[in-house]
Symmetry: C2
Subunit: 230 residues, 2 copies
């Protein structure tokens, strides 16, 4: 902890001093009943490393996270959520006070239309009707205030850059971090990632495979540039 | 590790020496697509503690486990599985060579009828048709050989003992460990549990709240008794 604090204090330039950053991380859990739920393979590592990098660079960081096996980096304000609906409430409450919002969480697009109060008994055929969750990123894009930087993530198994660009424009983002599964050393659960950054100015910045912390640093570098251009 | 080995060597009577035990643990993951899946809140702790207790008492232990955040206790043969189907294959392969089978895993009853090869895109209404997974415990009960002890678990939110007794009989078990969620200090993710053991001889043994390791020891005590009666 002491070493961590020393590294934080002297190892990094404080170019985010005075900035409030909201980072989201992890997967949400959408309950089917008290026992079963729908989730995804996000482990939260990417978001936690971004939060740590921003804190090292002097930002005041709030991390809103789904359930993960990770420990919260010291010095970061932490908000625990379970479902996409809780993630929505936390983000919309915090967003307006933040200069930068980086949404690295893998929020479920859908949830079961009904959550059973008791464990469902087995028997016969079953289908789970789903309803769409609110699109947090899109809503934050709609209420984005002047000077605020909004960064999203995009995880695809095909047509990565095409889908990323669509999402960047449709949701009024300043930047999107496109990553894929199926690439070795990238995606869910790994300590490294291979990301391409796309900005609203049309820049496409393919990053080589690197640690998620280093990728977080690169993302923050681009955020600063976008901030300077605003 | 040295201390662990010393405790194992001298801290426990070796009343399971020469016995092969199969223990299952954790939740299975049933893929919707490469990103999303259905799972449950089991963390694997109960099964891992039973495996450890059996190893301490001299058994040759194989642990078949879904994805967990736990580390495998030393000296135990470990088989990693993801889905209920993989769990089924591992268990049916191993079962016949084991003297005792304790199924503490929370295996999904259902899986999506189709697993999408690519990440599904958002849009409109969606339902997930499910199909039943094979009933591993029931199949093991059907092929149980003379002298073999088969122990199941039962997690219910209501009518616990009634459902447990039904399952005990329907699946030809020797014992069932009934536990519930909603009781403080019991169920998923906790270090303690409150279990009632029901045997095929009609015994109902309500255990007080205790560590999952101690609960594992009690389960093994009853297994030995049942074994003596065979």
């Amino acid at each position: 902890r002491l070493l961590y604090e020393a590294v934080r204090a002297i190892g990094f330039s404080k170019d985010f001093a005075g900035k409030r950053i909201l980072v989201t991380a992890g997967a949400t859990q959408e309950a089917i009943d008290p026992v079963r739920y729908i989730t995804n393979h996000s482990t939260g590592k990417m978001g936690y490393e971004i939060a740590k990098a921003a804190h090292f660079r002097g930002a005041e960081v709030t991390l809103v996270s789904g359930e993960t096996a990770l420990s919260v980096p010291p010095g970061i304000e932490f908000v625990q959520v379970i479902s996409a609906e809780e993630m929505y409430r936390a983000c919309t409450e915090l967003a307006s006070s933040c200069d930068v919002i980086i949404k690295a969480a893998a929020v479920a697009d859908y949830r079961p239309a009904h959550t059973a109060e008791q464990k469902m008994k087995k028997g016969g055929e079953l289908t789970i009707p789903l309803i769409q969750n609110k699109d947090i990123l899109k809503e934050l894009g709609q209420v984005k205030r002047s000077g605020q930087i909004l960064v999203g993530f995009c995880m695809e198994t095909q047509n990565l850059l095409e889908n990323a660009e669509k999402k960047l424009n449709a949701k009024n983002l300043d930047m999107i971090c496109a990553n894929t599964i199926g690439t070795p050393g990238a995606g869910f659960g790994t300590d490294t990632n291979t990301i391409t950054l796309l900005t609203k100015n049309g820049a496409k910045i393919p990053l080589p495979n690197m640690s998620k912390f280093d990728a977080g640093m690169k993302i923050l570098d681009e955020v600063l540039k976008l901030n300077g251009e605003k």
